[in-house]
Symmetry: C2
Amino acid sequence: MARTQGSRAEITGPLIRSEARKLFAHKGFAAVSMRQIAAAVGVQAGALYAYTPDKQALLYDLLESHMQDLLDAWQDDPHADPLDRLERFVRFHIGFSLDHSDAVFLSYMELRNLTPQNYRKIAGLRRRYEDLLDGILRDGMSAGRMNIDDRKLATMALIAMLTGVTNWYREGGRLDRQRIGDVYWGLARGAVGAD
Amino acid sequence: MARTQGSRAEITGPLIRSEARKLFAHKGFAAVSMRQIAAAVGVQAGALYAYTPDKQALLYDLLESHMQDLLDAWQDDPHADPLDRLERFVRFHIGFSLDHSDAVFLSYMELRNLTPQNYRKIAGLRRRYEDLLDGILRDGMSAGRMNIDDRKLATMALIAMLTGVTNWYREGGRLDRQRIGDVYWGLARGAVGAD
DNA sequence: GTCTATAGGCCGATAGAC
DNA sequence: GTCTATCGGCCTATAGAC
């Protein structure tokens, strides 16, 4: 399979995605031009259209694969102690959010730039993720290990609280990730009435 | 004081601000053109520049006045019971956020579009607001009414949790504001170890 | 204060060569 | 797969008339 001079498809594809993710997260989808993405990748703007039909599809691709990665990364044991499962979820969600902070930020900020159809797909994946936590809380209540007034609201409140770490966390700051996980697990345990 | 034909300064100024706030919140700062704002107001694009030197200043003005309104709206009684003060804060923050959801969303999403200097000013106002909650938690711990591992993180966690209401609240939904306040107060009370 | 007109520039996307 | 060149369009901001 002869290759055209200058072709580096295996590298260019992933590079477009990672540079676009960074730029979209830091400047906003609408504020980033295809030319800027191309410059960051090291190609000319026209070359991007060999990988994506348009700018909107590139955004959707980033959001969709992020949500899929998130769902794939979570491993639960439905038979374990609900409080242990919740603790693992707390540490997992914080860790994953910090490891993918650009994608997390994008997933909250740029939903409005999706077509209605694409928006529904991403919202569906997010809903699936929320249901994972909801299931843990449900089992915790059934087992009498948690005391929760409204389970759906508790789910949304916990996810917002945990994701908020990305708003203030700075590498090399006062607290390391283990310690942050400890503190947030204490907050979450109290919030679900597990003391 | 004669007025030029067609001049409606008292109306146009506030209208520019409110239409810009709506458009920026729903589409993103970079995605909204001055022409779109002008069309929503009912003037031509050039007329906007009698009220703002440029688009960036318009954004800063919206964020600055929002933070100032927030700080002005909160009334605390440092001598009251810390748990009562925290409950008032929880209900106040949720209510204010829902009443000003466009401005709240803007304040989180469009900080990146401010100049460094303007960013520092907004960050300073936000810090002052965080310190109001921090003070309540400090007094609660001193009085032995709260059990908090890390006060700064608890502050950030609570604000993120409460602000998150704007992500899912819909007018006329399953729960009214009073009930939402009840549920979140329960979560917050547990999180600060007040049970 | 508001209008019309416009300068100067960047945009997304495509065509065609290699 | 990547490049160069380009179309048609929209952008911010300003100038000058009323």
